[in-house]
């Protein structure tokens, strides 16, 4: 939105200026698409759902009162579109229970000695694989992770987007990381043992 304040852009969109709306879409489309990518497992639906989000934004802009940031409002719509999609299809992931056996003990049992564990950790390559683990988290946790790490959204804004208490957002973030840790140890540890056996 170079050279144009958010308020001016909203005013122009409300007046029916399609060029202003295209500017708004260009600014937010990648983040909206990324959130949908995190939330929805059927990747063939991504662009259709993103288009649905922006059609809702287009229709809803006249009603947008500016009580929250425009981004907060758009991400809230994105979240609702994703929840509706998740509710309408059977693409809920299987999630490891938090009290799964892959707790802290598992790291040590799989890795053997402390030296083994540190070698495993040093060789652990997560940057490419993290997406696969993220897809196994519950949708709400995936949403918190996407907003917190990709957009740098504050706890307060995430709470507003997801209509949750701020404490719950913190809990979701903490648990999401714990889930990830457990899945990584479980799968990565087994892979490492298989490679080194």
């Amino acid at each position: 939105m170079a050279g144009l304040s958010e308020r001016d852009l909203i005013k122009r969109c409300r007046r029916g200026d399609d060029r202003a709306f295209a500017q708004l879409v260009d600014h937010y489309k990648n983040m909206v698409l990324t959130i949908i990518d995190r939330m929805i497992l059927d990747k063939s639906l991504l662009e259709d759902l993103a288009q649905e989000v922006f059609l809702r934004v287009y229709k809803g802009l006249p009603q947008f009162r500016g009580r929250s940031k425009l981004s907060t409002w758009i991400y809230r719509i994105t979240y609702n579109v994703c929840l509706a999609e998740i509710g309408s299809t059977d693409n809920r992931p299987n999630v490891l229970p938090l009290d799964s056996t892959s707790g802290e003990e598992a790291t040590w049992r799989l890795a053997g000695t402390q030296e083994d564990a540190e070698t495993w950790l040093a060789k652990l390559e997560l940057k490419e694989a993290i997406g696969r683990f993220l897809d196994r988290l519950p949708p709400q946790y995936r949403m918190v992770i996407a907003l917190y790490y990709l957009e740098g959204t504050s706890y307060r804004e995430i709470a507003e987007i997801m209509k949750l208490p701020m404490g719950t957002v913190k809990t979701y973030l903490h648990r999401a990381k714990k889930y990830l840790r457990n899945m990584i140890v479980e799968e990565g540890g087994k892979e490492w043992i298989a490679r080194t056996a």
Binding site: V25, Q51, L55, Q63, K178, R181
Partner: protein, 179 residues
């Protein structure tokens, strides 16, 4: 601090969200506990991987395809809030309020308006008489007397319009201030 306490605080420690009271304890524990220190390294690795994720890129022509769909979606219609309709606030508040005021002060208002209308009638009579005499010495017709009911109705209408417009102006100013 034991391992259980340390592990429960690690996520906040990595996020930099841990309060200063716990910092010395957790750092002392991490320095001497290889197991918790390993967990810290693992958590940092997860954190780095999450931060390293890239934004998904929309395909070329995404915006153009969307813009083509807008006419079919229909021009958005704004359902204005009450606050965004100053004329409604103006009339909704102004008319009942002027009615209440006029009923409460009806005697004072009636005598004032009767006096006013009588003076106005005399003035108009004088003007008409002067004009007719100037035109050729014609005598003026008798001026109709004004009934109190007509005066009260007229004053109610005038004050309602005045108050409605006043409230409308205030509502418009407040709406403009809200942006």
């Amino acid at each position: 601090m034991d391992c259980k306490d340390c592990l429960s605080l690690l996520s906040d420690y990595v996020d930099g969200a841990l309060s200063g009271d716990f910092l010395p304890d957790i750092e002392t524990h991490l320095a001497r506990c290889p197991r918790c220190s390993f967990e810290l390294s693992l958590l940092r690795k997860i954190d780095d991987a999450l931060r390293a994720q890239r934004l998904k890129r929309a395909s070329a022509g995404f915006t153009e395809r969307l813009m083509e769909r807008l006419p079919a979606a229909g021009r958005p219609v704004r359902t204005p809030a009450l606050w965004d309709r100053p004329w409604l606030i103006g009339w909704g508040v102004g008319v009942p309020m002027s009615g209440v005021l006029l009923i409460y002060f009806r005697d004072e208002v009636r005598s004032f308006l009767l006096q006013l209308s009588s003076n106005m009638a005399h003035n108009i009579e004088d003007v008409v008489a002067s004009a007719l005499s100037w035109l050729g010495g014609l005598s003026p017709p008798p001026f109709p007397s004004v009934s109190p009911q007509i005066v009260l109705t007229a004053s109610l209408t005038v004050s309602a319009i005045f108050m409605a417009w006043s409230f409308r102006l205030v509502a418009r100013a407040l709406t403009a201030l809200r942006g």
